[in-house]
Amino acid sequence: MAHVEQLVGSYRAWASNGASRAPDWLKDLREGGIARFHDLGFPNMKQEAWRFTSVAPIAEGSFELAKPPARVPTLEDIRPFLLLEAGYRLVFIDGFFQRSLSTPFFDDVQSLAHVVTHRQDLVREHLGKYAATQDRPFSALNAAFVDEGAFVHLPAKATIEFPIQLLFLASGQQQVVIHPRNLVVVDREARASIVETYATLDGGVYWTNAVTEIVVGDGARVDYTRVQREGDRAYHVATTQSHQGRDSTLNLHFVAFGGKLARHDIGAVMAGPGGTLILNGLYLLAGQQHADHHTTIDHAADHCASHEYFNGVLDDKARGVFTGRIIVRPGAQKTDSKQTNNNLLLSADAHADSQPQLEIYADDVKCTHGSTVGPLDPRALFYLCSRGIGEREARRLLTYGFAAEILGRMDVAPLRLQLDAIVRGRLAEQ
């Protein structure tokens, strides 16, 4: 508990000092967050949602709030982490917005801290309205420290074809916690493509506790890609929560291969009829990495389709956890929901837990799910070898295929190609 008190203490110091000029509604959001976190404390493995993941290294560790970086990196320093050269981008170092490295677009692609005052009504309407805090201590803690992060807004019928990049880099400060808070609002019939990346310039022990809320208006379309490539000693806890309107399309893509311990809660609410959702994720883990993806798709309206695909590739002593919860609310008739989670174990010591949780309260729906955990298929290996491909190469090819299956669903070609190259590099290391 000592650490809960430390975090609450650092909140008090921060709230009375740097953050004291915030508008009242924002102060309320923060106070609500810290009160909730104080009540809940850190989760433990007796709780159903945390059965397979211990956050003891975070709960028992000591983390100070990150300070602004001593030295702002150059564009050359951050280039390896830019997936695309062109387009709008927002860059954050240790959670602090870096104007000199960013290419914002008026008040629509902008630092959240800036728009809290400049677009107060819009931010207030949405911020904290989607990511639950009741039983989510990390989300509550993030709410307490809401300050810096990315803000993206597309007005009705607007289109930004080229992906907007949101880049979060840790500079190498030790034993610090960073609470990025992102808000994406895509209004009616608008279109946007966004990529959010977490990485580190200098490794070390740090803790990212991020929350992103994505609001997709009626008839809007959003392609959202999230890349988690934190340092190998980092802790990464995140919540991504989306809310979709009528006839909207949301394609969520997740690629995770960083961090020593990672937990990602992904929530998607299909609030209007006729919506389409793709939840497409890949985790590549090795060494002693542990990654937990906890997904909840909430079919709150009729005639919606959700397709969820998560593939995991686990080597060495890595552990992957996947929970796929699907709720079909009463009246959400004609729901079409499909979920698959396939885990490839490359080592006898690797481990995967996969649990679907279907809660269906409507009677005219189609819901399917399936999961697999196992080594490379020996029949597939023989098939490739029988064509002249050496065993080592055949293993590499089959493993890559596991990842490529997920990457192949990404519609934004330049992004897909970049991630394909990163994944190939990553698999070559293993």
Binding site: F382, S386, R387, G388, G401, E405
Partner: protein, 257 residues
């Protein structure tokens, strides 16, 4: 039959899977350019023979030899056999998730080209090469960007095996029940492709349960496999005889021998 040294020479081959002896002493010699058919009832060991020649790890060789181009085939890894020119068209082709057909074909072809000391084909050169092969089997490129065999119909999978055969240009092609599950049009296409690929430097071993495929591909030799042994060999007329009389009379022959 043409004279000359055998491309493949199998002698006294005994093979077990999961402790059960399936092949109980098979002798077989195939020369360059020949087409041999192996027929036999279910469970006679036809597919075992095909798979063991390709190097399937599930089978244990108990005794006997198989020489390919004078070398010990049974001592070679599956990929070494393939690079030496042995090809097996699978009875049940395997689905490979995430890898497109064209990527797979190019990887396989380049593995063989490396072995032969030839330059690897880049994606563009390969595509041109592939176009010609596709045309030869009456396919367009619509299946090329799909994952290998994933979501393919039974006939498409078999045709995909024949495409691989055309692309990899083996010296010894083993077809394991390629005709099963094919409709008559698909069967004709497969047979036409095989006939086009017949060459003095290429031999075929066609494993089949039915005589149907042999209406379109005329073999030089027909063998009958029953209870793990070749109990009868003859010319193409043997296939017709089997079609008329069935396999029962051969089981008795196997008992006698």
């Amino acid at each position: 039959m043409t004279k000359g040294k055998a491309l493949l020479e199998v002698q006294g081959l005994r093979v077990a899977v999961a402790g059960n002896e399936i092949l109980k002493g098979v002798d077989l010699a195939i020369r360059d350019g020949e087409v041999h058919a192996i027929m036999g009832p279910n469970g006679s060991g036809k597919s075992t023979l095909a798979q063991v020649l390709a190097g399937h790890p599930a089978y244990t060789v108990l005794a006997g030899t198989a020489k390919y181009e004078g070398k010990d085939l049974l001592d070679m890894k599956p990929e070494e056999r393939a690079r030496a020119g042995v090809f097996l068209a699978f009875q049940y082709p395997v689905e490979i998730r995430g890898i497109t057909n064209s990527y797979f074909l190019r990887s396989a072809l380049n593995a063989l080209r490396r072995e032969r000391g030839e330059a690897e084909l880049d994606p563009i050169d390969f595509l041109q090469f592939l176009e010609r092969k596709l045309k030869a089997i009456g396919w367009d490129d619509s299946m090329m960007n799909r994952p290998v065999n994933e979501g393919f119909s039974g006939g498409e999978k078999k045709r995909n095996e024949i495409l691989q055969l055309a692309v990899l240009e083996p010296r010894l092609a083993i077809l394991d029940e390629t005709d099963s599950g094919l409709d008559i049009d698909a069967l004709k296409t497969v047979a036409e492709t095989v006939n086009k690929l017949r060459a003095p430097s290429r031999a075929f071993l066609i494993v089949t349960h039915y005589q149907r495929l042999l209406n379109y591909i005329t073999p030089d030799v027909v063998h009958v496999l029953a209870d793990g042994r070749i109990v009868k060999s003859g010319g193409p007329e043997l296939a017709h005889e089997l079609e008329a009389k069935g396999y029962d009379w051969l089981r008795d022959a196997a008992m006698v021998s």
